[in-house]
């Protein structure tokens, strides 16, 4: 079932993690205590120019030595440490969360227009597929994902998320079905700038996966949500589709609707469906995707999972439940139910 909530402050004012913890905990009914997580943007201002690599290590010997080696080969480690955690009675520690602040050596990838991002993406795929006992679960600049197997409040307290300040927060409360509640399988999923929380099941996963893997991405987390982050990276970053058109590729209008659109819109929508048919996501889902510039929430084409949006001043909220939003902000200017497939977009002011 799963519960999701996210918030953006368009003026980039920081919010600490305490209120989103309360909101997510309100939706404990939607979870099973086997996975919860948070993503926050703007949490590492002192290292804003470095890629913050969050990694789950099984131990600090073989996997860590291998990761250190590959990172040093491809760039410079400015700083690294174990992510501070506080033991929780109902959270069993199965991995060691670690973070690196890393700058890739762009001279090592000549010929790429985005060498730093391409190097980091390559490293994430390589570590996740070839180094046993190491999983990169967060790899953006000034972004941190904090997740584990446990209830939302335990995970929040484990990582002390109230000590981080971000202008965008994503949070997820998991009821695992397809894969067991392991730490890597908890949401949010992140790659570079993209973070994703997802409620539902993507019935087109096999198609999406075959598609994205032909572009060099490797699905390693055994869950359908991961593919959403990679699709966002491909369509949004590499193919430079604006957010609304990216969502139109993921949850396109029905052909009947396209046929009755004005000509230029019809042409555009048809081109998107033909070109990105394999990126179309089917099945029941509500998804919120974040980048440093903003958040986008959308559902499947027939809205088989709930999604509600609200605004209060500079803040935009997207969640599975209105009650959770009201837990964060009781006084809302506006609350609405987005239509199926219709994106809710919140951008930071430039």
């Amino acid at each position: 079932m799963c519960g999701i909530i996210s918030v953006i402050d368009r003026s980039r004012s920081g919010m600490d993690g305490s209120s989103i913890k309360k909101a997510l905990s309100l939706m404990d009914e939607r979870g099973s205590g086997e996975g919860a997580g948070y993503a926050a943007y703007g949490v590492y201002p002192d290292y804003a120019d470095y890629y913050a690599l969050h990694i789950f290590f099984d131990n600090l010997v073989e996997p860590k030595v291998a990761v250190d080696e590959i990172l040093r080969k491809w760039g410079h480690i400015e700083d690294q440490e174990e992510i501070p955690t506080v033991e929780q009675p109902d959270l069993r520690r199965t991995h060691i969360p670690w973070r690196y602040f890393f700058k890739p050596d762009i001279s090592l990838m000549p010929g790429s227009r985005t060498p730093d991002e391409d190097i980091v993406m390559k490293l994430v795929m390589q570590i996740n597929t070839t180094i046993p006992g190491a999983i990169v679960f967060s790899s953006g600049k000034n972004i941190g994902v904090f997740k584990a197997s446990g209830w939302p409040e335990a995970v929040a307290d484990f990582y002390q998320i109230d000590k981080y300040e971000g202008y965008i927060w994503l949070a997820h409360n998991r009821y695992p079905t397809n894969t067991s509640g392991w730490w890597g399988g908890a949401h949010p999923f992140n790659l570079l700038d993209w973070s994703v929380v997802h409620n539902g099941e993507i019935t087109s996963y096999g198609t999406n996966r075959r598609y994205i893997e032909s572009y060099g991405y490797r699905c390693t987390m055994f869950t359908d949500t991961e593919v959403v982050a990679y699709l966002c990276d491909l369509l949004g970053r590499k193919h430079r589709l604006p957010e609304d058109l990216m969502v139109r590729a993921f949850a396109p209008p029905f052909w009947d609707e396209i046929d009755s659109m004005p000509e230029d819109q019809q042409k555009l929508s048809q081109a998107i469906r033909l070109t990105y048919g394999s990126a179309l996501m089917n099945g029941p889902f509500a998804i919120v995707v974040a980048t440093a510039e903003g958040i986008v929430g959308f559902t499947d084409r027939i809205k088989l999972r709930p999604l509600i949006a609200a605004e209060s001043g500079d803040r935009l909220y997207i969640s599975s439940e209105e009650a959770a939003i009201r837990r964060m902000e009781p006084n809302l200017d506006r609350v609405w139910m987005p239509k199926a497939g219709e994106p809710v977009i919140g951008r930071v002011r430039i």
Partner: protein
């Protein structure tokens, strides 16, 4: 050894208590199985091919046909077929001809793949209540779109899309030429595909003027004999298919015997009356992949780059690499014809022993094109032994964009798969040019049967998709996660990239 020394294949009996001597069986059997002798119908069972025309026409259900009434001594190696082929060749010294598709008793891979359905964690979708989209576009798709924002904030699409065929259902009818089958059979199928928003192939037999009313639903074919090809023909088709090979007889050409080349067939094919129409094994202007590319370009130039060009090949061992070459030739679709593909006539050794199953071919081609990043360059059309909506759904889940049917469409018009097409006396008016026989097939009736088949399969595919929680065919295509293998070996599962049941 004289004729008659081989046991007959069928034993025909008439229940004399029921028979009213209406003589319909005599009229309907072109093979001369029945004749009237006094007050009794005499039966020469040896002539029977089990086409069931007499059975269907008998008003009293008086006829029974028994298969293989006399057994040979059983032997696991020396089957009846093996022995009879030898008797046949000992007598004639010739290649043994056979009709329809592969008749070997090999397991079907489709039958060992099982489809998925939703339970609890995701809801199935009811096609009666929710939209279910089967619309399919066949042709090149761009690898990415170039979209730019104009100053006023509107977006502008910079990418130009190549022409695509729009199908309302992912099922088409493959190429069966006028000559191989009757005009009435072609007319019935053409009207059906036009009605159902899909397409059929002309085969290498030209386009008869009577079919021009359906030309927007026809794919014209350029095969190695180039029969019927001129600029008018090319321009009339919605798409053009270059036929390199055929699943029933990979590596060899075709032969339409002169007795089938009457005045009408002669005109449509642009060959002299009563002359044999021989399609050579290779195209004599295609001896390499570069030559194919030139032909694709020539056809595109001739039709001003307005029509998708298909290339049809037989599924052979190296099919994936061949398809990848074709994808680079600027062709818009590759048709892969599996070893169960039908034919009017093929050497038995080819029909039964050359080529590979379509299921493995789809999987290998889709995988190769994806690994090379050129899957969008070309659509995959699969054919060869597709029997029902489940086969279609599985073919698409393995990676096909659409499928061709052949035999299934003929069965919808009455064909009983007797496999005697090569004799040109089809009692159902399908694989024949004899006026007395072609008249038996009424296009005003039979088009509806073919259209019904499309409707029925389309409904079933919609239901299967809905049960799998998928409301758009794009999300079924290549979705091998929704297939499981039952009783397939591990090597086969690796080729198909499908997990076993329970995994």
């Amino acid at each position: 050894m004289s004729l008659g020394s081989i046991p007959m294949k069928f034993k025909v009996r008439i229940d004399t208590d029921e028979c009213m001597l209406c003589e319909r069986c005599i009229e309907n059997c072109p093979y001369g199985t029945y004749r009237l002798e006094g007050e009794k119908i005499h039966i020469d069972s040896r002539r029977c091919v089990a086409c069931h025309r007499c059975v269907a026409m008998c008003p009293r259900d008086a006829i029974t046909i028994e298969e293989k009434p006399i057994d040979y001594r059983r032997h696991p190696l020396w089957s009846r077929e093996a022995r009879e082929a030898i008797y046949n060749q000992a007598r004639t010294g010739k290649i043994v001809l056979a009709g329809m598709g592969n008749a070997q008793d090999l397991p079907s891979i489709f039958d060992r793949l099982l489809l998925d359905a939703c339970q609890v964690t995701n809801p199935s979708i009811d096609p009666l209540r929710e939209p279910m989209e089967l619309r399919t576009y066949i042709g090149k798709k761009p690898r990415r779109l170039d979209i730019q924002r104009k100053e006023n904030g509107d977006v502008e699409l910079k990418t130009t899309l190549a022409p695509n065929l729009r199908l309302d259902t992912p099922i088409m009818i493959g190429h069966m030429s006028y000559g191989a089958i009757s005009l009435n059979a072609q007319l019935s199928m053409a009207r059906a595909v036009a009605d159902q928003g899909t397409f059929m192939g002309t085969g290498e037999g030209g386009l008869h003027p009577a079919l021009r009313q359906y030309q927007e639903s026809m794919i014209v074919q350029v095969a190695s004999g180039r029969f019927g090809v001129d600029i008018d023909y090319l321009e009339r088709g919605a798409a053009i298919e270059i036929k390199i090979g055929q699943g029933a007889k990979p590596g060899i050409g075709g032969h339409l015997p002169g007795e089938k080349v009457g005045p009408d067939v002669s005109q449509t094919r642009m060959i002299p009356e009563r002359s044999d129409a021989i399609s050579p094994a290779p195209h004599h202007d295609i001896y390499s992949i570069e030559d194919l590319k030139q032909l694709v370009h020539s056809l595109k130039e001739a039709t001003e780059w307005k029509k998708p060009i298909f290339v049809k090949i037989a599924a052979v061992h190296n099919v994936a690499a061949i398809a990848s070459g074709i994808a680079r030739s600027s062709a818009d679709a590759v048709v892969i014809d599996g070893f169960r593909g039908g034919t009017g006539a093929a050497p038995r050794v080819f029909r039964d022993h050359v080529g590979i199953p379509i299921e493995a071919a789809i999987a290998a081609v889709d995988q190769k094109l994806r690994s090379q990043g050129i899957r969008n360059e070309i659509s995959i059309i699969a054919s060869g032994g597709i029997r029902d909506a489940a086969d279609v759904t599985k073919a698409i889940a393995l990676g096909a964009d659409a499928i061709y049917i052949g035999t299934a469409a003929l069965i919808a018009m009455g064909c009983r798969v007797c496999g005697t097409c090569y004799r040109g006396q089809c009692p159902w008016g399908i694989a024949t040019q004899m006026p007395g026989l072609t008249n038996r097939l009424n296009p005003d009736v039979e088009w509806q049967h073919v259209a019904n088949l499309f409707k029925g399969w389309t409904l079933e595919i919609s239901e299967l998709m809905g049960a799998a929680g998928i409301n758009s065919i794009e999300s079924l295509r290549g979705n091998r996660d929704r297939l499981r293998a039952y009783l397939l070996d591990e090597a086969m599962m690796n080729v198909l990239d499908v997990k076993p049941v329970g995994a």
